[in-house]
């Protein structure tokens, strides 16, 4: 079929271009602008070229050192919470009721942590974990386990991880539950007829049927945990020392605390690029998952 060429059609996409320009391109360009300059205040800026980027990506410099420290902390944190939340979420989803009034009740209870504003979550845990008045903090110390998340880096990490698990495991569980619900009964019946064990049913039916939602869950949890800011900011403020200073917290310290706009701009661009790259990898994996290699259908 011949399609008439008509360049006036571009006008139809112009509004979208305009919106994207103002919502994304223009703000990013200001950041790019800052990232190649240095300022000593007074709104005076000096050209610095790629200096900040070179410094940022060189771990031996002060800026690069703190960037890579924060990056490793971030990756470590994401890895830990994924390693806990994904298996735990699957386990919770598997043990959720399938029918009756219990379904609604369970879903409401599961959704509760997801509905709490993030800074409130931080505050709840901050109070809960305090060694002097918090139920958990005081209780642990009363049991003879020394626990003080404001002084002990390990305790601070454990607290943040437990908080995140409490806050977000529901999301993974709900996604997995949706995946499980979509498996037709015939699969379970066939598996019983084939004499499959509980474990075999899990590995051969449930897990493969869940892999799509699991990928989405991993993606969402990775992105969220990689960009985490509010909860650790409220809970520990990045401390003790720099033990829980994640990239986002460091970025705010740099930009608003020290007013190093150039360094902060360079750091946020690299941060952004990492997020985009990971997104792209996940997207590619997700769109290719299940289809494997595109093969011709062959009748047996």
């Amino acid at each position: 079929m011949d399609k008439p060429l008509n360049n006036r059609a571009w006008w139809l996409v112009a509004p979208v271009f305009l919106i994207v320009a103002f919502s994304a391109i223009v703000p990013i360009m200001t950041v790019v602008n800052y990232s190649v300059q240095d300022t000593f205040g007074n709104n005076q800026f000096f050209w610095n070229g790629l200096g900040w980027f070179q410094e940022l990506l060189d771990p031996s410099t002060e800026l690069g050192g703190r960037f890579f420290d924060a990056l490793w902390r971030n990756l470590m944190f994401s890895a830990i919470i994924l390693a806990i939340e994904v298996p735990l979420g699957i386990l919770v989803a598997l043990s959720m009721p399938r029918e009756g009034w219990k379904v609604a009740a369970t879903l409401v209870v599961m959704a509760l942590p997801l509905l709490i504003p993030w800074n409130v979550v931080g505050t709840i845990w901050q109070v809960f974990a305090r060694a002097d008045i918090g139920l958990a903090g005081w209780g642990l110390n009363a049991l003879g386990i020394p626990y003080n998340f404001t002084g002990d880096p390990l305790a601070a990490w454990i607290t943040i991880v437990v908080m995140d698990v409490w806050h977000w495991t529901s999301l993974v569980a709900l996604l997995c539950y949706a995946g499980l619900k979509s498996i037709p009964d015939a699969y379970y019946q066939a598996a019983r007829i084939d004499g499959a064990s509980r474990w075999a049913i899990f590995t051969t039916i449930q897990l493969p049927k869940m892999n799509r939602v699991l990928l989405i869950a991993v993606l969402l949890r990775f992105m969220d945990s990689f960009m985490i800011y509010t909860e650790p900011f409220v809970l520990t403020g990045g401390g003790p020392g720099n033990a829980t200073t994640f990239l986002s917290i460091d970025l705010v310290k740099l930009a608003l605390g020290q007013f190093d706009l150039g360094k902060a701009a360079a750091m946020s661009l690299v941060y952004n690029l990492i997020v985009l790259a990971v997104c792209w990898v996940f997207y590619t994996v997700m769109t290719h998952a299940g289809s494997e290699r595109p093969q011709r259908e062959i009748a047996g």
């Binding site: 037709p184 019946q189 066939a190 004499g195 499959a196 051969t204 062959i298 047996g300």
Partner: protein, 367 residues
């Protein structure tokens, strides 16, 4: 190997069934012979899938027993019965190859490795799937997947019966015939009982030696396709089997005559003991009612003639009651007046929907 006996079986999905209306499956007594090819035929919601699930052990019946030979298996779990089932939608294990799929039931039963390999190869060649054994099962077509489901039942040497729950629902029409003949062939070569659930009469009649027709939770007739066609035990069977279905007309019986309105129809048998208070109906298949020129046989008014390819079917009215009849080759009709020739031996009388045998008179002989 095993015949399957249903002894007073009934099932209600409610925990406290009160009356017959609560039963999805009304009391049924039946023996499935070893090696038979059966079809369970009935419209959606008639209880046939419930019955199938009771046999396979996915559902425990409310009442009654199910015996494999003399062994009571009513409360045995599915995996402990010698049963395989093929479902409406093909079930394959997506992550596995065809070979692994076929080996799965044997692996779960801890059969030695060489033995598994031998069985899988054998069944694959029977199903013409040797060429795709190492393909991922998820990438195959629906009919190939359905063959894998079947194959997982066939590999088990202990399987006594294979149950099919509308297995051709998602198969392309041109492959349905092919798959069905594969089934028939397997049934002939392997000594297996096959029970095939369907709502499609063609599938049932071509597949089975014995068809069990179900309606509203109960069995209305069990018989060969021929019996179902020639002597429907219930008006429902008459309607449901045949295309178009049996003509069922309200009638009065007087001696050896039936009266539809004021039109008299000759009967081959007498019905002296018709129950009073029941609706009396006359049933005759369109195949045994032939249109003729006006003045011969029963007078009818022709409404329409449908050409269905292999034959022409006339839609007529007998004393105002609609009926269908065959139009013979070369019949010329003037206007809409015509006659109808009926084969008296193929006319059945139903009381309250149930066939009344009638008494053969000396002239006619036994029927």
């Amino acid at each position: 190997m095993a015949s399957i006996t249903l002894d007073g079986l009934a099932h209600a999905y409610r925990p406290d069934p009160r009356g017959p209306q609560d039963y999805a499956l009304k009391e049924i007594n039946h023996v499935w012979r070893q090696g038979g090819a059966y079809a369970l035929l009935g419209p959606s919601g008639c209880g046939k899938t419930t019955l199938l699930n009771i046999i396979s052990g996915l559902v425990v019946p409310t009442r009654g027993k199910i015996l494999f030979d003399d062994r009571d298996v009513t409360h045995l779990p599915t995996e402990a019965r010698n049963i395989a089932q093929v479902f409406q939608f093909p079930v394959v294990y997506d992550t596995m190859t065809v070979r692994e799929n076929l080996a799965f039931p044997l692996k779960n039963r801890r059969m030695p490795r060489e033995e598994i390999a031998r069985r899988v190869e054998e069944i694959a060649s029977r199903l013409d799937m040797s060429a795709v054994l190492d393909r991922k099962a998820a990438n195959l077509t629906a009919d190939a997947k359905q063959k894998i489901s079947l194959g997982r039942g066939l590999v088990r040497e202990d399987v006594a019966a294979i149950l099919f729950d509308e297995p051709l629902t998602v198969i392309d029409p041109h492959l349905k015939w092919q798959l069905r003949s594969t089934l028939k062939e397997l049934h002939r070569t392997l000594d297996l009982t096959m029970i095939y659930v369907t709502h499609d009469q063609t599938e049932a009649l071509t597949f089975a030696d014995t068809v069990v027709v179900m309606h509203d939770g109960g069995v209305v007739q069990t018989g060969t396709p021929e019996e179902l066609f020639e002597r429907p035990a219930h008006t429902f069977v008459g309607h449901f089997i045949g295309s178009p279905g049996m003509n069922v007309l309200p009638a009065r019986v007087e001696g050896r005559r039936a009266l539809i309105g004021d039109v008299a129809i000759e009967l081959a048998r007498a019905y002296p003991a018709l129950p009073a208070g029941e609706t009396i109906e006359l049933g005759v298949r369109p195949e045994f009612a032939t249109l003729a020129p006006a003045g011969t046989g029963v007078p009818v008014a022709v409404k329409r003639i449908d050409d269905i390819g292999r034959a022409r079917i006339a839609r007529v009215e007998i004393a105002g009651q609609p009926a269908a009849a065959m139009v013979p080759e070369g019949l010329a009709l003037n206007g809409d007046e015509a006659g109808l020739r009926l084969d008296p031996r193929q006319i059945h009388i139903y009381a309250g929907g149930v066939l009344v045998p009638g008494e053969a008179t000396n002239r006619e002989g036994a029927s």
